[in-house]
Amino acid sequence: MSSNVKTIREAASRQSTLRGPEEEYRKFLGKRMLFFMILILGVILLASLAVTLGSANLSVKEVYVTILAKFLPGYFQTTRFADTIVWGLRLERILMGIVAGMGLSVAGAAMQGILKNPLASEFTLGVSSAACFGAALAIVMGAGFIGGEYLIVANSFIFTLIASFAVYGLAKYKGITPETMILAGIAIMYLFSAMTSFLQYVGHAEQVQEVVFWMMGSLGRASWDKLSIMTLILILCLPYLLLKSWDINALGAGDETAKSLGVNVERTRVICMLLLSLITASIICFTGTIGFIGLVAPHITRMVIGGDHRFLLPGSALVGALLLLGSDTLARTILAPVILPVGIMTSFLGVPFFVYLFMKRRKEFW
């Protein structure tokens, strides 16, 4: 008891003797925490709203009774129809939006930091175009690594990893620097894009249409199985990235500075990039390529809470979740019962907000 009182007294006396810069920094930390809380609240509110929206004629009460019935079946009762709509369609789609938004944004934020390039995203490293090629190969040729219902998913996942290793191999040959990785990524991107174009050229009209639709990205293919895989990979990879956030900060200051601060530059860059590719692959193989989120959510976050990856990674995850969930909710309600591809909505929703921040704060960030 007395030691607690002593600790509190010490903390209070420290608080009153803080140096100016430290006090300002602590205020900035408070701002970061407030930003996190607003985002968490935003995601919860948006998810709560999104689950009540849709073309099926269900009231708000029916939706929430259906959710509660799953946990407290003795107290709440629902219909099979409502259960299918809420648990079988809406909730898994909403959660998939949240997890996919988080994963793509974390991957974008970390890639931009590690490669010291504000334009880095899953597209820059050829990961997205490799996934498209894998899917196109399955759709047009019916060829792939695993047959059956997972043909497209497995193809895009495996080709994504092939692209990542190819980028790594090419960069390793010249020395793993941000420049070599981006150049190798761009070479791989053009290669897979050309091969996808070739498949579209030789494919039938319906096949080409399916490829194009896949490339636009959608959360419509959500399922609990897919959600579990995506979530598991994100949960496994995220702690390592957060643990390495100091090193990612140091890499942003240049390889020499990072080395002088004790960072094992090559190993950190390679392990992080492979984990980021894995996160991206596990998402886009299920959703198709959803552009913009991975590029812009980190920038929006950076503009508000700065570039320290200890805060930027979780912050980007929350902004990405909010952005993707918001885009998908609009995409499936704005022209209901028609559901627009979410990739189109992410840009429509995100660009104006991004341009606003960009115009308002451009001098400080670019």
Binding site: D247, G262, R302
Partner: protein, 263 residues
């Protein structure tokens, strides 16, 4: 007091030798200036001491081979100030300096770390810039912030790669005065690559002149900065004035028949 002993240091980029069997000793709380023409190996030597580059030969820090030290241990002993000033996107001055605590912390930043950063910012008169974006600062301010980051590592040796190269006259003097005073007050050593011989004459305690990847001569500025050495090392005819209580070099002309770079 720290002691660095460098023996037979060799480093090559591809097949071209930059350092060629270099020997040097840095001892005590002093500022050692590395001077010499472009390509003589000044920057490379600094990077080799900090293990940013991995040379052949031996570098002992207080009798311990730095080859056998972990990168983390090296980062606690050497603070490196690079020539160029890049930081991650949207990083405040405080965050930039806090990065210097990286060798001392695992993940969580302690009160002590924050205090160290605040103390260093105040020491270098940067407290008013603490929450400014690093990229918005002037060249002189950036250089001081990078110096603050290196100081936050609490090193025994500061390694500075041409710390005044992009600065105007006033900032050059400010930065050099700051380094010289820090070395004395914190009882650390500083090894810095420099181009300006007059600045070197004003602020360094000892000088090592590099030529062709080797130490051409080492000693005090007063002993080494003379017309003969400048002609031999730089291929420049110069007048050295002595009436300012230190050598002051006025270059006259280059000697075209001799190579300016001693390779």
């Amino acid at each position: 007091m720290v002691k660095i002993t460098i023996n037979d240091l060799t480093f090559s980029y591809n097949s071209s030798a930059i350092l060629d069997g270099l020997d040097l000793v840095v001892e005590g709380s002093e500022v050692l200036g590395l001077v010499g023409p472009n390509g003589s190996g000044k920057t490379t030597l600094i990077k080799c001491i900090d293990r940013i580059l991995k040379p052949k030969g031996s570098i002992l820090l207080d009798g311990q081979e730095i080859d056998r030290m972990t990168q983390q241990e090296i980062a606690k002993r050497f603070g490196y100030v690079p020539q160029s000033s890049s930081t991650p996107l949207s990083t405040t001055v405080f965050d930039t300096v806090l990065m210097g605590r990286r060798p001392h912390i695992n993940w969580r930043v302690s009160d002590l770390d924050l205090e160290k950063v605040a103390e260093t910012l105040e020491l270098l008169h940067l407290e008013d810039l603490a929450m400014r974006d690093f990229s918005q600062l002037s060249g002189g301010q950036k250089q001081k912030v990078l110096l603050a980051r290196a100081l936050c590592q609490e090193p025994s040796v500061l390694l500075l790669d041409e710390p005044t190269s992009n600065l105007d006259m006033r900032h050059q003097l400010e930065v050099m005065e700051m380094i010289a005073s820090l070395v004395k007050s914190k009882k650390i050593s500083a090894v810095m690559a420099l181009h300006d011989l007059n600045l070197a004459a004003m602020f360094v305690d000892k000088l090592a002149i590099l030529k062709g990847g080797r130490i051409y001569a080492a000693g005090t500025p007063a002993d080494l900065l003379n017309a003969k050495n400048i002609k031999e090392v730089y291929g420049v005819e110069a007048v050295v004035m002595e009436n300012l209580h230190r050598p002051y070099i006025v270059p006259l002309r280059s000697i075209n028949s001799e190579p300016a770079c001693g390779q």
